[in-house]
């Protein structure tokens, strides 16, 4: 994958991230059930997006480093 594509995907993920944690997107994920890994669902949802954000940033950085040599 080229760095350019990775940046597009990364920004795409971050746009989804913004929609997923802001009103009105977050309305669908605002309740406490079901519990996942011991966390209420809304808590898990927010942590999940931190991890997805981390993955998106890693993807952008890894492809950049490969292209820079």
């Amino acid at each position: 994958m080229t760095h350019r594509t990775a940046v597009r995907i990364g920004i795409g993920i971050f746009i989804l991230y913004a929609l997923a944690v802001h009103w009105p997107g977050v309305l669908a994920f605002s309740g406490p059930r079901p519990f996942i890994l011991g966390l209420p669902f809304n808590f898990f949802w927010v942590v999940l997006w931190i991890v997805l954000g981390l993955c998106a940033l890693l993807l952008m950085e890894v492809t950049r480093q490969r292209e820079d040599g």
């Binding site: 971050f14 519990f35 940033l57 952008m60």
Partner: protein
Amino acid sequence: MESWHVVTAVVGLYLVATLVVGLVGGKRATHGVAGYVAADRQFGLLAMYFVVGGTVFSAFAFLGGPGWAYSRGVAALYILSYGVLGILPWYFLGPRAAQLGRAHGYVTQAQLVTGRFPSRTLSLLFAILTVAAFVPYIMLQMSGAGIVFNAVTAGHVPHWLGAALAYGVVVLYVLFGGVSAVGWTNVFQGIVMMAAAWILGIYIPNLLYGGIGPMFEQVLAARPELLTLPGLDASGQPWSWGAYSSTLLSSAIGLAIWPHLFMKAFTAKSDATIRRTVVLFPTFQLFLVPLLLVGFAGVLFHSAPASADFILPHMILETGMPALVVGLFCAGALAASMSTGDALLHGAASVAIEDGIAPFVQIEERRRRFLMQLLVLSIGGLAYWLAVIQQRSLVWLLVSAYGIIDQLAPPLYAAIYWKRATTRGVLAGLVGGSATSVFFFLNPALRPWEIHEGVLGLVVNVTLLVVVSRLDPTPAPMRPAPADSSVNASPQPVS
């Protein structure tokens, strides 16, 4: 030996270690302004990572974060969300600002903005807004240090003395080491505060409830309103979606713009360092998770603290934990307070001189550094006097600070990315946006859908910037960085 003796000894050791790290680290920089403000642009990845993390996570993480979870429930989740969302722009903005900084010798935000939009008024406005936003923020950090000392020593160390001890150490290493000392102490402080957060966050829910899942089951059964978004407001009523979402947005936009963080771009060794710091930033966000867990653990605790912000120290003392654990918490919270406070003090003094005074009065290089140190002392003294002697209520000041910092975003983005922007447009936007933000802060009842005043200010700011720039026939020319500057990462003297 009583347990508070052990706690005080642990904290004393921590303070001495910080001072040593700061003074030794500070010796590595040269004596000019570039050395004092931008550390000769020498920070590598390890230092940058903890500098950024330690700067962003303040006493608020150890006191306010758990306090929010305890009193307002999942409303606190906005704190987790805005950090990662807000850092993304820095992946692009940070290296670009650093390139311009190296090419033109910028060490502050206003220099970057006025490099494109030449206006001394603009520079002065940046200086005033920055210092106005920083003083209450420094006060909060000092107060936090005092509270921690006072609580864990069972009142044996008074509030004023705790704050004075912690900030005496900070002022010493900022004075003598500049940003280099700030960087190396933050590496040390960052490690201490992350260790403290994880140990406490796993230990306390296990001790009280036998695990994180069982804890949330019990909280949900007793207080279901705490676990449904958007949580509660400060008075315990359900919070509105408008307020939750716009607070998140305002904080996310402000995060990368806070001058003490933004100026770190000018201290980085290379653009790659800045990008890798951004990539690793979400790991710092995850470190807030255990602190929020501690706050939720407090919900069904048998006794209540004097104020929600004291929930963590309160539980640590009431559960009769080993003195070493209490000492660790204390050192972690102090580390969080001091690693933000030092960057703020240093940033406020640098900005006041470089942007508020230097454009109007000619100052020699050597006197400039001396003046900066004088300002570190006087701003520190003023904040201490307001926070500890006057005991002013801080919350309203701090919240208005966030609204103001957001207004610096459009000028910065325009300076780097928008070719058609003009000096008049930027000035109009900044003045209009700041005025709007302050107005709605003072008249919260008038805010539509309870939207955060920072976001309302941004709407006015961006509109004025675009409209006035379009009407203005003379766009300010872009100042491109030399093409080779992204490769050339070596420290350069500032002219």
